[in-house]
C-alpha cells in the first residue's frame, strides 16, 4: 500500500489514535519482561522498591559500589550495536563460505555457537577489564551512575547449580525437536501425498488428540511409569528400567504429545510443495522413499525449521509433564523455578527467582530475534491451510 489512494487516506485523528494504541500495546507487551530483567540486576532492596525510578537507578546497589558509569554504558552500547550488526551482515557470509553446502544446518549451529562464545568472552571478559582501567583514570566520567549487580545470577547459576537444570532442559528439548521432526516429517509427507480416507481419519484423530489436556495423559502414564521396572521384568529381565524420572522417557512422551500438531503443520507445508516434483522423480525410477530423500528433502527445510521451532517451544516451556514425570535431580529449568517458591522467604530469594526467570527467558528472546520470520510464517501457515 505504498501509493495510498486518496479515498483510503485517513484523517489525522484516526492515524494518531491508531499510532497511540500501537505504542501502548508495545509498551504493554514488553514492560513485564523488561521489568523483570531490570529487577534481576538490582540489589533486593532496589528490586522491590516502591518507586519505579529507584528500581531503574538502584541507589542501594550504587551505595555498595556496584554500577555502571556513563562511559560503561556508552561503550557497552557501541560494542553491542556493532556485534549485532556484524551478526546480521557478515556472519551469514562466513557460514556460507566455510561450511559445505550439504551440512549448512550444522554450519549454522557451529557458527552461532562460536559467535556466542566470542561475544560472551568479549562482552563479559574483555570489556569489564578495559573499562575498569579506564574508569579509574577518567574521574567523574568513570563514577557509577546506574546500579547493576550480577550477584543474583552468580548465586543462581553457581550456588544453586542452575546449570544442571539448564543441561537437562537442553537434553530434553534437543531430544524432542530431533525425534519429533524425524518422525513427523515422514508422517507429514505421507499424509500430504495420500488422499485416502485413512489419512483423513488419522488427521481427525490427531486433531482430537491435540485438544486433550496433558494432565489426562500424565494420569495415564504415572502408574505405569512408576512400576515399569516390575511390569517390564518378564521381557527385559533385570535390565528393565523405571521410566519415572528418566529424561528420555519424558522425550518420548513429549514427542507423542507434540505429534498431532507437528503432522498437521508439516502436512500443510508438504502440500505447498508441488507434487509434480516427486512425480517426476518417480517417473525417473525412484521409489517413494528415494523421491523423498533426493527431491523433497532438499526443499523441505523452511517448513521443518518452522515446525522445529514450535516443538522447541513446547518442550522448553513445559511445566506440567516435566514436573510430574521427572524427579528432583534431573529436573528441567521451568519446574525447577517452582523450587524457589517454596523457600522464597527473604527478598534475596525472590530476586534470585527473578534472575532464574530471566535466565529462562533469554534464549527465547534470542530465538525470536533470529527466527522471527519463521515463527510468523509458521503461525500463519497453520491458519491459512488448516
Amino acid at each position: 500500500m505504498s501509493s495510498v489512494s486518496r479515498a483510503l487516506r485517513q484523517p489525522f485523528g484516526l492515524r494518531f489514535a491508531s499510532g497511540a494504541f500501537l505504542a501502548f500495546w508495545c509498551l504493554l507487551a514488553a514492560f513485564p519482561i523488561v521489568w523483570i530483567a531490570v529487577m534481576s540486576i538490582k540489589s533486593p532492596r532496589d528490586a522491590f522498591a516502591s518507586s519505579p525510578w529507584d528500581v531503574i537507578v538502584g541507589p542501594a546497589t550504587l551505595a555498595r559500589g556496584e554500577g555502571l558509569s556513563i562511559l560503561d554504558i556508552v561503550l557497552g552500547l557501541v560494542v553491542l550495536y556493532f556485534a549485532i550488526r556484524w551478526a546480521f551482515t557478515r556472519l551469514p557470509g562466513l557460514v556460507m563460505q566455510y561450511s559445505p553446502p550439504s551440512l549448512i544446518v550444522l554450519g549454522w549451529l557451529v557458527g552461532a555457537a562460536v559467535y556466542a562464545l566470542v561475544f560472551l568472552l568479549v562482552f563479559f571478559g574483555l570489556l569489564p577489564l578495559i573499562l575498569g582501567a579506564l574508569n579509574s583514570v577518567l574521574g567523574p566520567l568513570g563514577e557509577p551512575v546506574l546500579g547493576l549487580t550480577t550477584q543474583h545470577y552468580v548465586a543462581v547459576w553457581g550456588e544453586n547449580e542452575f546449570y544442571r537444570n539448564f543441561l537437562n532442559s537442553l537434553f530434553v528439548t534437543a531430544g524432542v525437536v530431533t525425534v519429533s521432526l524425524t518422525v513427523g516429517t515422514l508422517a507429514g509427507y505421507g499424509l500430504a501425498r495420500s488422499g485416502s480416507d485413512l489419512a483423513f481419519w488419522l488427521l481427525i484423530a490427531a486433531l482430537v488428540f491435540r485438544a486433550l489436556p496433558h494432565s489426562v495423559l500424565v494420569a495415564g502414564y504415572l502408574p505405569w511409569f512408576i512400576n515399569s521396572a516390575e511390569i517390564l521384568r518378564p521381557i527385559f529381565g533385570d535390565l528393565s528400567p523405571t521410566l519415572y524420572g528418566q529424561p528420555w522417557a519424558v522425550i518420548a512422551v513429549m514427542v507423542s504429545i507434540n505429534q498431532p500438531f507437528t503432522i498437521w503443520m508439516l502436512r500443510s507445508f508438504f502440500q505447498n510443495i508441488p507434487s509434480e516434483l516427486d512425480e517426476a522423480a518417480r517417473v525417473d525410477g525412484c521409489s517413494h522413499f528415494q523421491a523423498f530423500r533426493r527431491v523433497i528433502m532438499p526443499v523441505m527445510w523452511p517448513g521443518v525449521i518452522t515446525t522445529g521451532l514450535f516443538a522447541f517451544l513446547l518442550a522448553y516451556n513445559d511445566f506440567l509433564v516435566t514436573s510430574l514425570l521427572l524427579d528432583a535431580q534431573n529436573q528441567t529449568m521451568v519446574p525447577a523455578i517452582a523450587g524457589y517458591f517454596n523457600r522464597e522467604t527473604t527478598t534475596t530469594d525472590q530476586v534470585e527467582a527473578v534472575a532464574a526467570a530471566v535466565s529462562i527467558t533469554a534464549p527465547l528472546f534470542l530465538l525470536v530475534m533470529v527466527f522471527q520470520r519463521q515463527i510468523v510464517s509458521g503461525l500463519t501457515a497453520g491458519a491459512v491451510k488448516g
Partner: protein, 341 residues
C-alpha cells in the same frame, strides 16, 4: 501412494501416538473405575515401658500395611464402580446446597470451583483475544512499513515466553508492594493487596492470558489483512460505506475463517489452563480442572498419589473436550464429504 508405502511413512508417528496417547487414555478410563490401595491388617501390638516393680504393658490394636516378601507394601486393586467419580463430584454436598438454597456453597467444592473458573476463563478471554488481536493487526497495518518489523518482534515476546514465567513476571509487578500495586495505592490512597482475594487474582489471570495469546491472533489477522481484496474495498467506498461499515461488511467477513480458527485453538488451549495457577500461586483461591487432576497426581505428605481420583477427574475433563470438539469435527466431516478443501 500404495497402502504399504503410506503405512511405512506414517507408521512411526502412529505408533507413538497409539502408545503414548491412545493407550494412556484407555488406561485412565479403566483406572477411574478402580482403586489401588495398600492392604491393611489389624495387629495387636504390645508395647512395654519399664515401671516400678513391674513393666507397664499396653496392648493396642493398630492398623498397619502388610509388607510383602520383597519389602514393599502389598497392594490390591478393586473395582469400585463410580466411587471415584462420586469422590470428585461430591454430589451429596451439591444436593445439600441446592436443597438448602445456598447455591454459592457448590463453588466451595473443588471440582465445581475448578469447572466454574475454567469455563469462565475460556469464555471471558475468547472475545478479548479476538478483539485485541484484530485491533493490533489493524493498527500495525496502518503503521509505517519501517515500524512493522520491530512491532512484530515486540509483540511476539509475550506469545513466546514460557507461560509460567510470563505469569510470574506479572505476579512480581503486583505482589506485596510491587511496582504497580504501589502505584495504585498512591492513586487510590487505600491499601491494596492483589493476591488476597479470588477476584483480583482472576482479573490478573484474564489479563495475562489476553496478553499472552493476543499476539498469536494478531499475527494471523495481520496475514489475513494482506489478502483483503482492494477492489471490493474500493467499490465499498464508491458505494458510500464509511470506515466502520467497511470494517464490518468487507474486512471482518474476509477474516471470518481465521476468527473461527483462532476461536477453536483458543478454546482448546484455554480449557487446559494450568500454568497460570502455578505462576500466580493461586491454589488457595482459584483452581482449574487441569490443576485439580495434577493436584491429585502430586504425592501428598504421606507420599501417596490419588491415582483413581485423578483418573476420574481426568475423565470428567475429557467430557468437556468432547462438547468442545463436536461442532468443528462435524464441519470438517462435511467439508471432507463435500470434497471442498
Amino acid at each position: 501412494m500404495k497402502f504399504k508405502t503410506f503405512a511405512a511413512f506414517v507408521g512411526p508417528s502412529v505408533f507413538m501416538m497409539i502408545l503414548f496417547i491412545a493407550l494412556p487414555l484407555i488406561s485412565v478410563f479403566i483406572q477411574s473405575f478402580q482403586i489401588t490401595q495398600p492392604v491393611m491388617q489389624n495387629l495387636e501390638v504390645e508395647t512395654c515401658t519399664p515401671g516400678f516393680l513391674t513393666q507397664t504393658c499396653v496392648t493396642e490394636l493398630k492398623t498397619v500395611p502388610v509388607i510383602g516378601e520383597d519389602g514393599k507394601t502389598v497392594t490390591t486393586t478393586e473395582w469400585t464402580g463410580l466411587q471415584s467419580y462420586r469422590n470428585v463430584l461430591q454430589m451429596d454436598k451439591v444436593w445439600e446446597a441446592v436443597s438448602a438454597g445456598r447455591l454459592g456453597d457448590i463453588l466451595q467444592i473443588d471440582f465445581w470451583k475448578a469447572l466454574r473458573f475454567t469455563l469462565m476463563f475460556t469464555l471471558v478471554t475468547l472475545p478479548l483475544v479476538i478483539g485485541v488481536g484484530l485491533l493490533i493487526a489493524l493498527t500495525v497495518n496502518n503503521a509505517a512499513k519501517a515500524l512493522r518489523g520491530p512491532v512484530i518482534f515486540v509483540s511476539l515476546l509475550p506469545f513466546i515466553i514460557t507461560p509460567v514465567i510470563g505469569s510470574l513476571s506479572i505476579y512480581w509487578l503486583f505482589v506485596g508492594d510491587g511496582i504497580l500495586t504501589a502505584m495504585m495505592e498512591s492513586w487510590s490512597g487505600t491499601n491494596i493487596s492483589m493476591f488476597a482475594q479470588a477476584w483480583t487474582i482472576e482479573l490478573l489471570m484474564y489479563f495475562y492470558r489476553v496478553w499472552h495469546v493476543a499476539p498469536f491472533a494478531f499475527v494471523i489477522f495481520y496475514a489475513g489483512l494482506q489478502t483483503v481484496n482492494m477492489d471490493t474495498l474500493e467499490s465499498a467506498i464508491i458505494d458510500g460505506a464509511n470506515r466502520w461499515e467497511r470494517l464490518r461488511h468487507v474486512i471482518i467477513p474476509h477474516l471470518m475463517p481465521l476468527i473461527v480458527f483462532i476461536a477453536l485453538i483458543h478454546l482448546m488451549d484455554c480449557y487446559r489452563v494450568f500454568d497460570e495457577i502455578i505462576g500466580f500461586r493461586s491454589q488457595a483461591h482459584v483452581i482449574s480442572l487441569q490443576w485439580l487432576t495434577v493436584d491429585f497426581l502430586t504425592p501428598d505428605d504421606a507420599g501417596n498419589r490419588a491415582i483413581s481420583r485423578a483418573a476420574a477427574s481426568a475423565m470428567l475433563t475429557m467430557i468437556g473436550i468432547v462438547f468442545l470438539l463436536i461442532w468443528p469435527l462435524r464441519r470438517t466431516w462435511k467439508d471432507h464429504k463435500g470434497g471442498a478443501h
